[in-house]
Amino acid sequence: MFPWNYGFHWGAASYIFLGAFYTVLAVVATTVIFAVFRSRRALAAHETEEIRWHSDFHDLPARDRVCRHVFTGEFKSRECPHAFDCRLCETHAKLIAAHPPQQSDETEEEIFGMSFPVDCLYHRGHAWARPEADGTVTVGLDELGSRLVGAPDAVDLPQPGAIVHANGTAFHIHKREADVRVLSPVDGEVVETGAPGRGWYLKVKPINGQMDMRHLLCGTEIKPWLMREMERLQLALSAEGAAPTLADGGVPVADIAQSYPEADWDAVCGEMFLEP
């Protein structure tokens, strides 16, 4: 096929065949090179966390990807097209504009015996964010999340100065066989971390000015969301062979993990912390 190969004859068929072959090869090679190029760029731009979240989100079961406006009954069913980042969502903006979020009457939602202060904004991965007066945001694990991990075996908090990304990892929690990441509800730089005795929290400073928290759940959304989360938890627990106690309206105990020693806690936590 190459020059100086004796006895090779070129013909119209050769041109067609080899042309097609090389086109295919070129397309395949370009695809791979393109992917490599984009990966390198993404790595350089520290987009790993974002990509991990997108990839995880893609792998979530369809029922876990529902839009928050389904909780409020604005949609019958809708899959979130923006990986729970409502800041990018025009539909969300329109809906918010039409029906501004209502503050709940109470200061604290009591759901199944768990308290969800309404001054906090909630991430779908069971982290809350509370804007502080000094412009920082405190990030912590919500009640359900806390009860899921109970008394954790270990917690890896980021060092002050580390950057966290919304939907990226806030901190790691180890409990039994479970090793889960708690997703950060906000972007910013960690300025302070909580000590084990006082619950774990991060104090996050926005990198540039105002922190956009449109994507977090708040107010009246919290209750329907939590109802759904309890369903999910029940589903996850039953999938792992745990007895279906929650369905009867029972209150989750402080350390759920201990109540279901036979359940694959890694799977349950993965499910609940949006980590497939």
Binding site: Y6, G7, F8, H9
Partner: protein, 258 residues
């Protein structure tokens, strides 16, 4: 491979084989092996794993004793003149038709041994080197210097004694002329004691195969599949001429010969 394309000078080398003369002695088969450095059989070789560029088959009229009549049919590469089945199938152009002679050539040094050509050939004229070529100690001294022995795992076949053709061409060139069909004969033709095999240029009307092509008693193997073989067989016996066509049931049943 340099192929001089001189208009009007191209030849179509062919053969005529008189089946009525062939006594099945096998001289052609061994002369071919001697000429082309085909090694003796490995001990595990059978008639289906051997290498016989020309192979004499014993054919019969399908009757039982005492009405059985046999004939001997040497089958070599039929040098298909049109759409040679082996040429188009070879994935790496190891099979080539020399436009100057019409000889279907096999380049063993380019063959990777896929054996597709063997499947394609209806005449079973192609042979695979199942074993490393080996000669008894000392016998390698008797190899023909004009032909390179082939390695294991490649296909080979009759090429009308390319070594002889090449030598004849060089001789003709030394004498300042182009090679002609009469300048050489393949080893089997030379060796045939009964002169049953004759060789020549089908483009020359006076050559033996060209004459044979016009002979009513002539036939070619499987003419119906359109490969235009350049080997013409000849027999006055009607039943022998039947072997040109497709196999018929009952012919050769329960027969181990041929």
């Amino acid at each position: 491979m340099t192929s001089e394309k001189k208009p009007g000078k191209t030849a179509r080398y062919g053969m005529t084989i008189d089946v009525d003369r062939c006594n099945g002695c096998g001289a052609c088969m061994v002369a071919c092996a001697v000429e082309n450095n085909v090694p003796p059989a490995h001990e595990g070789a059978t008639d289906r794993k051997g290498i016989t560029w020309i192979r004499v088959f014993q054919v019969d009229n399908g009757e039982d004793y005492p009405n059985r009549r046999s004939a001997f049919v040497p089958v070599l590469c039929q040098q298909c003149g049109k759409d040679a089945p082996c040429v188009s199938v070879c994935p790496q152009q190891a099979v080539e038709v020399d436009p100057a002679t019409g000889i279907v050539g096999q380049m063993p040094e380019r063959c990777l041994g896929c054996r597709y050509c063997m499947v394609a050939c209806p005449y079973h004229a192609r042979y695979f080197n199942w074993w490393d070529p080996a000669w008894p100690a000392g016998m390698e001294k008797t190899l023909n210097p004009d032909v390179a022995p082939r390695m294991r795992g490649v296909v080979e076949k009759c090429n009308f004694c390319h070594g002889r053709w090449h030598a004849a061409k060089q001789l003709a060139a030394a004498n300042g002329r182009a090679i002609e069909a009469v300048d050489y004969v393949p080893a089997c033709v030379e060796a045939c004691p009964t002169r049953a095999i004759q060789f020549g240029d089908l483009n020359r009307p006076e050559s033996a195969p060209a004459q044979a092509a016009k002979n009513g008693a002539s036939f070619r193997l499987l003419e119906t599949i359109g490969t235009e073989p350049k080997i013409y067989y000849r027999s006055k016996k009607n039943w022998v001429r039947q072997i040109s066509s497709a196999p018929k049931l009952g012919l050769g049943k329960e027969s181990s010969r041929g």
